[in-house]
């Protein structure tokens, strides 16, 4: 077996057939830069599985997955809560562990999930969004709908009725003025709220009566849930924040001492360390919350947080455990808690650069004027698409915390084309490269017209990502592609500094991968923009736009325009499906892993209803312990 002609799949075959010893297997993989947990995973996969087909079909994503670990409670809908306490506050203290600590408790002054989660213990939006993408009323009396006339069929307005008898923690009544104020706060230029994106499309808000408002949109939209709903929709009390509008907003004392309508009231907040909250005994839902105290401790790292819940049981719930699955599995054997795996919206994907990162045109690399020497050719991109073994990556690195992704937007299902397929087939990939004129030269590397097929593949520093790089590199090398790996610390890679060529917006490499996230089930317009030709990141716009692959397709632009304009939900879904399909047909992106949200919870904790579209604690009022 020569150094570069094997693939991970071959090696696994050889090992299963007894052609390679266990030691040889391990040594080969170590030599290729694979980490030990991954190798152990591959070994056990060889032992247990018969060789399965390396292609899949059907829409991937948050499908039904045999998940012994979730016990089904992770996606339990709150309405289905079988348990109603006889009185509030009988559950004692709920101990939450966020390995990134909240530093500010104003959901509009931070874009950090940790801060918005911390705020959500105290503040509430008009409605939340559950795992299936349904709107669940919180401060609203009912969900707006076309049938009741509260939702405009042509997407121009939405009418919200708020719940009556709700009071703020300081005793003041909650009114529609607070809702209107929240909009003004979010869009005020000097306040520079980070939730502005959700409120920008509001033209005006009419106060219909004391408990009803009509929100008029600038441009007709299907995304009426952007403002006042879920994390970015948390309503602020007008009487508290009124005097801090504008430049004073950032230093307002209530940013650290929230006054909300939520199930818990602030007791103590030590920024970057701990939040202590007491039950709100005037909470607007009878008999809830179940717990009479919440402690949210922050800091440390994700594996440590997982240990504190799964193994030692010191805490009840830990959030966002992006840790190698083998590590989580090991900890789960501790028996104190279980992994709560819920559907996600993050997509770990591979981008191929459409422009040449090695050629400088007018002082700019990866310029639109310099097409990539081989990725500009669809056949080459298709070959690369075929050479990514998504199954090995998902099964070995993510386990149940991820699924093979076929489409860039895989959730909710209504936007995903039916019957999508993916394939891992190195032979076919080789043929495509041959056809495109990239033949293997003497050194084993493919070349055409004196250009060698050499790629630089970059991503952020992260064990899982480095392992994924190793898997992809190995398969590409067996195809005759020379691969150089580069990993950049996350701070720099995800930064936006126009002067730093190592970050993802510059994309001064041939391939890069990372996870793209979304903010709501219907935010496709915002998220799909990433592939518009008008959004291409270039020096001229300081790389501040959204399209880093520099995919430039008039056809996609047209499909996008058509989808955005479509206001009939069913037709819009069809239009988005076409965009979704186009991205895959053109290999504008290679989706790899549909990532699930992973948390850990004590065995008896129930009622979380984890949703990818909302904060982990959106339903905290109704969390409870099963006796």
């Amino acid at each position: 077996m020569s150094d570069r002609d094997w693939t991970v799949a071959d090696l696994m075959d050889d090992y299963q057939a007894g052609r390679v010893s266990r030691r040889g297997f391990v040594r080969t993989l170590v030599g290729a830069g694979f980490s030990m947990p991954l190798i152990v995973g591959l070994l056990s996969a060889c032992g247990s599985d018969e060789k399965k087909s390396d292609s899949g079909s059907g829409t991937s994503g948050s499908g039904v997955r045999p998940s012994p670990v979730t016990g089904g409670f992770a996606t339990q809908a709150p309405g289905a809560a079988a348990f109603t306490p006889a009185k509030r506050g009988e559950g004692g203290t709920l101990k939450l562990l966020w390995w990134q600590a909240p530093s500010i408790l104003n959901p509009h002054q931070s874009s950090g999930t940790k801060d918005r989660d911390g705020s959500r213990i105290f503040y509430e939006p008009l409605a939340a969004i559950d795992a299936e993408g349904n709107v669940v009323p919180i401060l609203a009396a009912e969900v707006p709908s076309v049938d009741k006339g509260t939702l405009d069929k042509s997407g121009k307005f939405v009418t919200w009725k708020i719940k009556k008898g709700v009071t703020w923690h300081d005793g003041q009544p909650f009114t529609v003025d607070d809702v209107i104020f929240t909009w003004k706060y979010a869009v005020d230029a000097d306040t520079a709220a980070l939730t502005v994106g959700s409120y920008q499309n509001i033209e005006s808000i009419d106060k219909v009566d004391d408990s009803t408002i009509k929100v008029n949109f600038k441009t007709a939209t299907l995304e009426w849930t952007a403002p006042f709903v879920s994390s970015a929709g948390q309503i602020l009390p007008k009487h508290v924040f009124e005097k801090y509008l504008g430049k004073e907003a950032k230093s307002a004392p209530p940013n650290l001492k929230p006054v909300g309508t939520g199930p818990f009231k602030i007791n103590d907040f030590k920024p970057n360390d701990i939040i202590i909250a007491d039950m709100n005994d005037k909470y607007h839902v009878e008999n809830w919350p179940y717990f009479n105290k919440v402690e949210m401790k922050g800091g440390g790292d994700a594996p440590g947080a997982a240990r504190a819940v799964l193994q030692t049981g010191e805490y009840d719930y830990a959030w966002n455990l992006q840790v190698e699955y083998s590590v989580l599995q090991q900890l789960e054997k501790g028996g104190a808690g279980v992994l709560a795996i819920g559907p996600g919206s993050g997509i770990e994907h591979l981008q191929l650069n459409y422009t040449d990162p090695n050629k400088e045109v007018d002082g700019e690399k990866a310029s639109l004027k310099a097409p990539h020497p081989f990725f500009a050719d669809l056949k080459v991109r298709q070959a690369f698409q075929l050479a990514i073994n998504r199954k090995v990556i998902v099964e070995q690195l993510y386990g149940p915390t991820g699924d093979v992704a076929i489409y860039y937007f895989y959730n909710p299902k209504r936007y995903v084309p039916d019957g999508g397929k993916w394939e891992f087939n190195l032979q076919k990939a080789g043929q495509l490269l041959d056809e495109a004129g990239w033949k293997k030269g003497g050194s084993g590397t493919r070349e055409k017209d004196g250009v060698k097929m050499k790629v630089l593949y970059q991503t952020s520093v992260n064990t899982v990502r480095q392992n994924m790089q190793a898997v992809i590199k190995k398969d590409l090398e067996s195809l005759g592609v020379e691969v150089e790996l580069k990993s950049v610390i996350a701070d720099v890679f995800f930064g936006a500094d126009p002067a730093n060529p190592d970050n993802f917006p510059h994309f001064y490499a041939d391939m890069q991968s990372y996870t793209a996230t979304r903010s709501g089930p219907d935010d496709l317009a915002t998220a799909m923009k990433t592939y518009l030709s008008s959004e291409i990141k270039q020096k001229a716009n300081n790389w501040s736009k959204l399209n880093s692959t520099r995919y430039n397709s008039k056809e996609f632009d047209a499909l996008f325009e058509a989808a955005v304009k479509e206001l009939d939900p069913t037709k819009a879904a069809e239009a988005w499906k076409k965009c979704n399909q186009k991205l895959i047909d053109d290999v504008a992106v290679i989706p790899i892993v549909a990532r699930n949200n992973v948390a850990a919870a004590k065995k008896d904790l129930r009622g979380m209803g984890l949703s990818p579209w909302d904060s982990d604690v959106w339903n905290i009022a109704k969390w409870y312990r099963q006796k």
Partner: protein
């Protein structure tokens, strides 16, 4: 002596200014800024991003930002955090008691272990006792705290269940229960740090006692018929500890600034973990607050060490 102290204090002013310039430049030149994560978020328009940068003055050149920072510090104002606009001093003051308690206790424990162990090791050089102590000192000194921390968690939390993995300052018990709970939470970080520091100190104590124990005046003391305990404690150790005291004085600033790694492992809300959080969020004012305070303390305790040396060793005269 007074002259010497005044001169040293005067010299330390330009030193500190130099240090602050270097620190500020390094922190400002490091890649990334407080709004790094925002770049990924298509929901935040560029105008808002620009506004945020302007409000924090991030678009000014480094030297202007430095002059602004130094100017307000000269008026006693440490500035406010970039992240939540909280005064830097409040953030530090909130963390200081925890750091002083955990790191300070660890230091006391370390000294209490190191002194007897080091002295006995030296007196009974090459005995079994000395070999064991030296081995432990080497182990403790060479094992990094992130490793011993994890081993301790595995042993005391996972296997034995004695101590909690996660430190909390929010202890609900009162009275005696409060004390035992606090100690239970602090036990592991204190042990980890004490192990490391005592290992280091033991080696200093041992070698400086060894330096004096074979000197003539010690032999003379013995010849006078004094008991071995008296010879060791009042003649040998007294002189041997002069360099040790200096070293201890030089290590004192660390008690105020925390132990970055240990605090992170056990989630001790001390200055060290504040430093890490601020580094990750590029919170320059807090970072400067912590590292510059550290610089001041280092300069100060250097002076203290020099003065102490003069006091303890009459042969040394400062002019």
């Amino acid at each position: 002596m007074t002259k010497f102290i005044i001169r040293r204090i005067l010299i330390s002013v330009p030193t500190l200014i130099g240090i602050s310039i270097v620190l500020f430049s390094v922190i400002s030149l490091a890649p990334g800024d407080p709004f790094g994560d925002i770049a990924l978020n298509p929901n935040i328009p560029p105008e808002t991003q620009q506004k945020l940068r302007e409000q924090l003055g991030l678009d000014d050149p480094v030297y202007i930002r430095y002059v602004k920072w130094a100017g307000s510090l000269a008026r006693g104002d440490w500035g406010v955090s970039f992240v939540n606009k909280r005064p830097v001093w409040d953030a530090i003051r909130e963390r200081l008691p925890t750091t002083l308690f955990v790191i300070g206790s660890a230091y006391v424990v370390a000294v209490l272990i190191a002194l007897p162990v080091g002295i006995i090791s030296a007196v009974k050089q090459y005995s079994i006792w000395d070999n064991i102590a030296t081995t432990f000192a080497f182990l403790g000194y060479s094992l990094p705290t992130f490793f011993t921390g994890l081993v301790f968690i595995l042993l005391f939390t996972v296997k034995l269940g004695w101590f909690p993995e996660i430190y909390t300052s929010n202890i609900e018990a009162s009275g005696f229960g409060y004390i035992t709970e606090t100690l239970r939470h602090a036990a592991m970080p204190i042990m980890v740090l004490a192990l490391f520091q005592s290992a280091e100190l033991t080696r200093y104590v041992r070698s400086s006692v060894l330096d004096v124990i074979h000197l003539d005046y010690v032999r003379t003391a013995r010849a006078k018929g004094l008991s071995e305990v008296k010879v060791t404690l009042f003649h040998a150790v007294r002189n041997a500890l002069i360099p040790v005291v200096t070293i201890m004085a030089l290590q004192l600033p660390a008690i105020f600034t925390g132990a970055v790694i240990t605090e992170q492992i056990f989630r001790v809300p001390g200055i060290g973990s504040l430093l890490i959080t601020s580094l990750n969020s590029h919170d320059t004012p807090i970072l400067m607050g912590i590292v510059f305070t550290y610089a001041i303390l280092v300069v100060f305790f250097n002076l203290v060490a020099d003065v102490l040396y003069g006091v303890l060793d009459p042969r040394i005269k400062y002019a």
